[in-house]
């Protein structure tokens, strides 16, 4: 087959502009630029936080001062001036909202452009949406339905006020403030986020979902999510992000903590589509996220599913500590990089409990000049007998200027563990393309078909509502108009 038209098509499909680029004009309440103890006190007081939380922030900040930004990842991160960032921004509207009508129409419009109409979602899909516009929650729906079951699902700052004991009990237990540079930064300045608590034996009837958006220019967003599933509880939690097009780089250092007690199950799914920068690699979000879950009790289960298409730089390793015996963890990921995007992402599975199981399926797709890397750790502790891990990391290369890398770390200190790791790197085979062409499918559609098929293992794991969006995102990133 002639390679020229092929190249053109790849160029066409990979050259698609970011569709969701727009800026919403809402007045924002800013803290002054820079970071010091006063700023932290200001954030804390603005949010009317209790003393212990301020202490937590200050402790993290003092620890952070002694840390250096990590440089081990395969990323080229332009120097970040942490004093040139605004650490607090909240939409100025302060009055309590009773119904959707009171929400700023412009804000609603923003969500409409994204296809995430609160109204629509509320009426049709039965998904409770806690929409985070910059750092403060504006609207929470379905609170009533959830409260019937005793489920707590609210913004983080609200939870601090209403359920301080719960927050205090779990905050920082999975990701301590000393964990890493960005986790320390987040612990010091986190603005808001979501808190979710499922009581004993409750199966959450709704898919919980939060949409994060970064909106005000020059605002770092420091989300903090805490999900606790008590004994025998089940929850499926979804998170999705899109961000407006910007020229200035934006830093995002979030923390997600998940705690699964005995027999509990947490399913965490995310679709991430932040502004990746333009064709020349200018602009884009820096995504330095610490996500970690702990299977604390026996037979508990955590599963991470992610579709990553955005961000200029991604540094993200959703991980699991399998502490309980017979606990299990799963990690399913599709990461797509295009143009000058860089991703160093993967997972960590730390087996401490006996008979624990983990599965890792990671699919990387790189196009343009991007660098896409998987970095994963599987560790079996000496006392964790009969553990099982299966890892599969495949990379697909579209174009000859991009890179796909795999850095697995496998450490085993137990003689009864069975660990397997396999990885392949290849491009879309000419045979497959030819087969499709032969049957009247044009090359662009064929690429779409093959890429979607390649990512199917992971897409299938997403909740229905997300699967559709994820497929759409893959299409936008790689396939032009082909859906």
């Amino acid at each position: 087959m002639d390679s020229n038209p092929n190249e053109n098509i790849i160029e066409q499909v990979t050259g698609k502009e970011y569709e969701f680029g727009f800026v919403t004009d809402i007045e924002t309440d800013f803290a002054p630029k820079g970071l010091n103890e006063d700023i932290i006190r200001l954030i804390s007081s603005k949010k009317e936080e209790p003393e212990w939380l301020l202490e937590f922030r200050l402790k993290a900040y003092r620890h952070w001062l002694g840390m250096k930004q990590p440089d081990w990842a395969h990323l080229e991160i332009p120097p970040i001036d942490y004093q040139d960032i605004i650490y607090y921004a909240a939409p100025k509207k302060k009055k309590e909202l009773q119904s959707l009508d009171e929400v700023d129409p412009e804000l609603l419009d923003t969500f409409n452009k994204l296809g995430i109409s609160l109204d629509e979602q509320k009426r049709l899909t039965g998904v409770a949406v806690d929409a985070v516009m910059d750092s403060t929650s504006v609207k929470t729906t379905f609170q009533d339905t959830l409260s019937k079951y005793g489920i707590i699902f609210m913004s983080f700052s609200e939870a601090v006020k209403q359920h301080p004991d719960l927050v205090k009990k779990y905050l920082g237990t999975v990701v301590p403030h000393t964990d890493n540079f960005f986790a320390a930064l987040n612990s010091a300045v986190f603005s808001d986020g979501s808190f979710c608590y499922i009581p004993k034996g409750v199966r959450c009837p709704l898919e919980l979902s939060t949409y994060f958006r970064i909106n005000a220019a020059n605002t770092g967003q420091f989300e903090r999510t805490l999900i606790v599933a008590d004994e025998g509880a089940y929850v499926s939690y979804m998170e999705g992000c899109t961000a407006p097009q910007r020229d200035e780089n934006q830093l995002h250092a979030a923390i997600v903590e998940i705690i699964a007690e005995t027999d509990a199950e947490v399913k965490y799914s995310t679709v991430q589509n932040w502004y990746p920068g333009d064709k020349d690699g200018k602009g884009g979000i820096y995504n330095f996220v610490t996500k970690r879950g702990i299977c604390r009790g026996e037979r508990s289960k955590i599963s991470w599913t992610q579709v990553e298409t955005g961000s200029a730089i991604t540094w993200k390793y959703p991980s699991c500590i399998l502490k309980g015996d017979y606990s299990s963890a799963e990690f399913y990921s599709v990461a797509v990089t295009n143009n000058y995007q860089q991703a160093d992402t993967g997972t960590k599975m730390i087996h401490l409990g006996k008979n624990s199981k983990s599965t890792i399926i990671s699919k990387g797709i790189s196009a343009g000049h991007s660098q896409n890397g998987y970095r994963g750790l599987v560790r079996i502790a000496p006392n964790a007998s009969n553990c099982r891990n299966f890892s599969q990391c495949d990379s697909l290369l579209l174009g000859d200027k991009c890179g796909a890398h795999t850095w697995p770390y496998i450490q085993c200190s137990n003689d009864t563990a069975i660990l397997e790791h396999e990885a392949t790197t290849s491009k879309i085979s000419e045979d497959q393309l030819f087969y499709c062409n032969q049957r009247g499918i044009d090359t662009e559609k064929a690429i779409g078909l093959i890429v979607n098929g390649y990512a199917k293992d992971v897409l299938n794991k997403l909740p229905m509502e997300f699967a559709v969006e994820a497929q759409k995102l893959l299409s936008i990133t790689l396939e032009g108009s082909v859906g």
């Binding site: 991009c402 850095w407 496998i410």
Partner: protein, 461 residues
């Protein structure tokens, strides 16, 4: 505390280097002299690597640096150590404490030149100028610096154009010094275009003394040349060995290496291959059977710098007692190295809950038309296979042995020299029986060869 002692190890070297570098480099060409001085300056600057460095994180080799090594008065000893591989017809040379046993270079009937690096540098300055220090360093660290600055001798093998070696060359490296020597050897192997070489490189120790060997070998494989390099490591439990091979492959060359570690306190094998010519192929095999508190670390890097090349890495290990092992395979495919085929595999069997393995098979790929894959597994003996065999009257012990042997044999079967393959096969069997490490003088037990019967009655299967 540890840091302080480490400082002294570094300081000791710097101290020694400063006063003796003049004498050591007295016969050097200006370029090599400069290389030494630059390396020393770098060493003064950064010293030995630390466990904080990514490449050395899991290495236990660095622990040895705390010992009080003798770096100055290491002497060449005449040795009649005889290491015979039965039925192997090979050209045998010995290196004792890092010094080549024979002062003069030897030209074999085929035209291949073997001898001491030191001597060769004086007699073949043009070859040295052309090849010495030209391989890509890859893992640039303090051990490389100190070797480059202070090397005195080593072996030199030169195969001129179109020469096919008649028989394999066996190099026996022995450590025989009572006061914990720190030995630096520097070796150079040149296989010119269309030549063929087979090299058996054995590391042995005579006594139970502790030692540190820092061996650095540069290998240049010319166009269409073929090289087979077998490394056998059989050292005492107190020794430390850092064996670095940096290899440069030109167009259509073939390389096959086997790294077999049977015994040794702490071993680190660095194998760095730069494929600089199209159509080249390299196959790297490794086997490590370790027990007690031994440590084996294999660091492999294959750089596919040009298109149309193939590489295979296959390393297998069995870990017993409290042994630890590290495998780090790294395949790098440069942006224009299209049509690359690279395969990487590391399998391990852990026999106890004290043994530890850390495996890191990396792929770093910048070209799209490639087929690269890697696999890694850690597990135990297949219980079903065990059951099957026991069911058919094979004792549990024998079934276990048979399975482990089959696991290891996948690597040894690739050995091209028949006598050597049989020998290694035999050693694997002995090793699995736990007999190999019990000999007092040398783990090879060559002087008293005894027939070993691997007791499995196949007729009963």
């Amino acid at each position: 505390m540890e840091n302080q002692e480490k400082m002294t190890a570094q300081e000791k070297f710097i101290d020694y280097a400063k006063k003796s570098i003049e004498t050591i480099s007295s016969c050097d060409s200006p370029r090599i002299k400069k290389l030494r001085q630059e390396a020393l300056n770098r060493f003064i600057d950064r010293g030995f690597p630390t466990n904080k460095m990514e490449k050395w994180r899991n290495s236990k080799l660095l622990e040895c640096l705390n010992q009080d090594f003798n770096i100055e008065s290491i002497e060449n000893k005449k040795h009649d150590f005889c290491c015979v591989i039965q039925n192997l017809d090979a050209e045998v040379v010995t290196i004792t404490n890092g010094f080549y046993s024979d002062e003069n270079l030897k030209t074999l009937s085929s035209g291949i030149i073997i001898g001491s690096t030191h001597k060769a540098m004086q007699e073949y300055p043009e070859l040295f100028e052309k090849y010495f220090g030209t391989c890509n360093i890859n893992d640039d660290n303090g051990f490389y610096d100190i070797n480059t600055a202070l090397w005195k001798d080593g072996f030199f093998i030169y195969a001129p154009k179109n020469i096919v070696a008649e028989k394999p060359i066996q190099i026996i490296k022995i450590t025989d010094e009572d006061n914990s020597p720190f030995i630096q050897t520097r070796n150079l192997i040149i296989a010119e275009a269309n030549s063929q070489l087979q090299i058996i490189d054995c590391d042995d120790s005579i006594k139970e003394q502790s030692s540190f060997v820092n061996s650095y070998t540069e290998i240049i494989i010319g166009e269409n040349a073929q090289l087979e390099n077998y490394k056998l490591q059989n050292l005492n439990d107190n020794s430390s060995l850092l064996n670095t091979n940096t290899i440069k492959q030109l167009a259509n060359s073939r390389l096959q290496t086997h790294t077999v570690s049977f015994n040794g306190g702490k071993i680190r094998n660095n194998i760095f291959v730069d494929i600089d010519g199209e159509g080249a192929e390299c196959n790297l095999y490794g086997l490590y059977l370790v027990d007690k508190t031994q440590h084996v670390d294999n660091q492999i890097k294959v750089n596919h710098n040009v298109a149309n090349c193939n590489s295979t890495e296959k390393f297998k290990g069995i870990l017993d007692n409290e042994a630890t092992a590290v495998f780090n395979g790294h395949v790098y495919v440069a942006p224009n190295a299209q049509k690359t085929n690279a395969y990487q595999n590391n399998s391990n069997i852990i026999l106890t809950d004290k043994a530890k393995i850390s495996t890191m098979p990396f792929l770093e790929i910048y070209a799209d038309d490639v087929k690269c894959s890697h696999g890694s597994s850690i597990g135990q003996l297949d219980q079903e296979a065990m059951f099957y065999m026991q069911q058919r009257g094979i004792s549990r012990e024998n079934a276990r042995m048979l399975l482990m042997y089959a696991f290891a044999a996948e690597i040894s079967n690739n050995i091209g020299i028949e006598a050597l393959r049989e020998r290694i096969d035999d050693m694997i069997k002995r090793r699995l029986k736990g007999e190999l490490s019990c000999c007092e003088n040398c783990v090879f037990q060559c002087n008293t060869p005894k027939e070993y019967d691997f007791k499995i009655d196949l007729s009963k299967i």
